[in-house]
Symmetry: C2
Subunit: 330 residues, 2 copies
C-alpha cells in the first residue's frame, strides 16, 4: 500500500495567496490494475500560470495542477516500463496511480543533462519560450526585442534564443543579481532593473531610439504599457503571461485598452500557451539540447528541496524569488 502526499487547493486564491489556501494531505493509493503505472515524483514544478488557471480549471479541494518528472516505479502498462521517466501531468503529488496515457509525456533522451529540465528548459517553459518567440513573434536578424521577466524560466530562454537569431535584446528584471546574470552571463544588450528605473518607457527608448520590433511580455500591467508605447509600426507583441496582475483581487484587470495606439501603429498583440505546439515539442527539445551542449543556451534553476516546501516555492514566484526555473526536488 503506497501512501501519497498531495497539495490541494483548499480555497480559491483571492488576492495574494495565503498559506490557508493550500493544504498538504495524504492518501492511500489503490493496487495497480492492468494498464496502470505507479509514478514517483522526482522533480516538480511551480509556474506562474498555475495562479490564474487554478481559478478556471479547479474547484476547491482539487489537487493542485501541474506536471512532474516522475519515475515509473511499478508498471502494468508495457508502453511505460518500470524504471523509465515521464513528464506526468498529474498535479502536485508525490505518488500517483494512473492508466491515463494522455497525462504521460515521454521525452527524448537528455543524456548528461539533468532530468529536471523536463519541467523547465526542455519542458513547458522552454517550449513556451521557443515557440512563442519563433512562431508568434518570428523575429528577424537585426530586429530589436524587449523581454520582461527576463530572468525567469521563460524570459531567460527567450532572450538567449533571440540573441542566437541575431536580435538586439532589451531586458527587464527585478533585482541586481538577476540583472547582473542577464548582462554578464547571458550577454543581453540592455538590462534594466524595473524596480530602480523610474520611467520604463524612457529606458527602452534610450536603449533603442527607433523603437521595438518585437515584445515578449511575461509581466503585463505597467511593464506592458511601457513596451507597447515603444513599438514600431507593425510591431508584434507576444502575451505569454502577466505575472504582475495574477494576484490582483477579483477579475483580472480589464482595460480600458490602448486601442488607439494599437490601431494607429498597426500592432499585433497575441496571447498564446506553449501547449499549442505540443505535437512538435520533441523537435524543439532536440534543438535546444544541442544548443545547451554547445554552450549557446545557459539554463539556470532555483531548486527548492522537499515536497512539503512546494507551496512556499510557488508563492515565491510572485515575490520574484527565483532566478531561472523554479523546481522542487522531492
Amino acid at each position: 500500500m503506497v501512501k501519497a502526499k498531495k497539495w490541494i487547493l483548499a480555497h480559491h486564491f483571492d488576492g495574494n495567496p495565503k498559506d490557508s489556501d493550500m493544504k498538504l494531505v495524504e492518501e492511500t493509493l489503490p493496487e495497480l490494475k492492468d494498464g496502470d503505472v505507479l509514478l514517483e515524483a522526482v522533480y516538480l514544478t511551480v509556474d506562474p500560470y498555475m495562479r490564474p488557471f487554478s481559478a478556471v480549471a479547479l474547484k476547491e479541494g482539487d489537487t493542485m495542477m501541474g506536471t512532474q518528472v516522475a519515475l515509473v516505479k511499478e508498471s502494468r502498462n508495457p508502453k511505460f516500463p518500470k524504471g523509465t521517466y515521464v513528464d506526468a501531468n498529474v498535479g502536485w503529488r508525490t505518488h500517483t496511480v494512473t492508466s491515463d496515457e494522455s497525462l504521460l509525456r515521454k521525452f527524448p533522451p537528455f543524456g548528461e543533462l539533468p532530468l529536471s529540465y523536463a519541467v523547465g528548459a526542455l519542458g513547458m517553459p522552454g517550449m513556451t519560450a521557443y515557440y512563442g518567440l519563433l512562431e508568434i513573434l518570428k523575429p528577424k536578424k537585426g530586429e530589436v526585442i524587449l523581454v520582461n521577466g527576463a530572468a525567469g524560466a521563460v524570459g531567460s530562454l527567450v532572450g538567449q534564443i533571440a540573441k542566437l537569431k541575431g536580435c538586439k535584446v532589451i531586458a527587464f528584471a527585478g533585482s541586481p543579481e538577476k540583472c547582473k546574470w542577464l548582462k554578464d552571463d547571458l550577454k543581453f544588450d540592455h538590462v534594466f532593473n524595473y524596480k530602480q528605473v523610474k520611467d520604463q518607457e524612457k529606458a527602452i527608448r534610450e536603449a533603442s531610439p527607433d523603437g521595438l520590433d518585437c515584445f515578449f511580455d511575461n509581466v503585463g500591467g505597467e511593464s506592458f504599457t511601457a513596451g507597447l508605447r515603444c513599438m514600431k509600426d507593425f510591431g508584434r507583441i507576444a502575451v505569454c503571461g502577466c505575472i504582475s496582475s495574477y494576484n490582483d483581487k477579483g477579475e483580472e484587470k480589464q482595460g480600458p485598452y490602448p486601442n488607439a495606439l494599437i490601431n494607429r501603429r498597426q500592432l499585433r498583440v497575441e496571447g498564446f500557451l506553449g501547449w499549442r505546439w505540443m505535437a512538435q515539442w520533441d523537435e524543439a527539445t532536440l534543438e535546444m539540447i544541442d544548443w545547451i551542449r554547445q554552450g549557446k543556451l545557459v539554463v539556470k534553476e532555483s531548486v527548492t528541496e522537499g515536497f512539503d516546501n512546494m507551496r512556499s516555492a510557488f508563492y515565491g514566484l510572485f515575490k520574484g524569488n527565483n532566478i531561472g526555473k523554479a523546481v522542487i526536488k522531492v
Copy 2:
C-alpha cells in the same frame, strides 16, 4: 486667379473638439506650371481617424487632413486630363494646385454609382472594411462575428460582407433608427442599441452562448472589453478604431491591459489601417461594385451640403449623427 477655401487646424484638439479648433480661411492659388493640375472638390469626407491622426501628423495652422473626390478642372499633366475625377489626398480644400501625383488616386469606373463612393464604400472606409475583415479576421462560414459602430461607414459594410461570407453577425449601434436599419434592411442577426443595453457582455452571450470567433472593433473602451470577454479560444480581434476614446483628454487611455484573458484564451488583437492594402484597392473596388449592383451590398450616406459646414459634419461623427458614410457635397 482661383481662390480656394480651406479648413485649417487652428489649435490641436484637446478633449471634445471646439469650434475655435478649426478655422475656415481663403487663399489665392498660383498659376499652373508644367505637371500641375487644378482640382475642384466635388465631395469631401470626414472620418473618425482624423481626430487622432491630426494630433500626430499635423501642426497647428496646417490644412486639415483628408481626401476628396475632385474634378480635374485644368491640367498641365497628361496623366490627369481635364474633366477626369480623382480621389485626391490634399486635405480639406475646395481647390488645389498640385503636381504631386502620389496624392492622386485614379479609381475604376463606377458607372451609374455615385462618385461620392470614392471616399466611402469604394474608397478608404470600404477598403478598410473589406481588407480588415477578409485579411485580418479571415472569417469562415458559420463563424460568429461582433461588429460595433455597426451603422457607420465601415461597420455597416463589415457586417454585410460578413453575412455574404456566411457568418452570424452580432451588431451594436447607438440609436433606434440605426438599429432598425441594421436589422430590417441589412438583416444582421442580432442588433443592440448600446445606449439601452445595460450589460453588453450579457447581450452578446445571449446572442451567442458559445462566444465569438471574430470581433471587428470600431469603438474601443467598454465596448471592446465586453466583446473581448466573450471571445472563444483563439478568437481574432481587428482593432479598426476606437471612436469612444478619441475625445478623451490627453493621451489615449493606456490600460491596465486585460492580458491574462488574452493569454489564457490565446486571442489575437491586431490593429490595422486600410491604407496597408492600397496597392490592391482596385481589386476590392471592382468586387464591391459588383456586390452593390447585385443588391448584395447596401450603401448609405449621410450627406452634408456645403464646404462651410464641414467642421460641424466632422464633429457630428463623435455624436453619432451619421448613419452610413458621412460625406460633404460642395
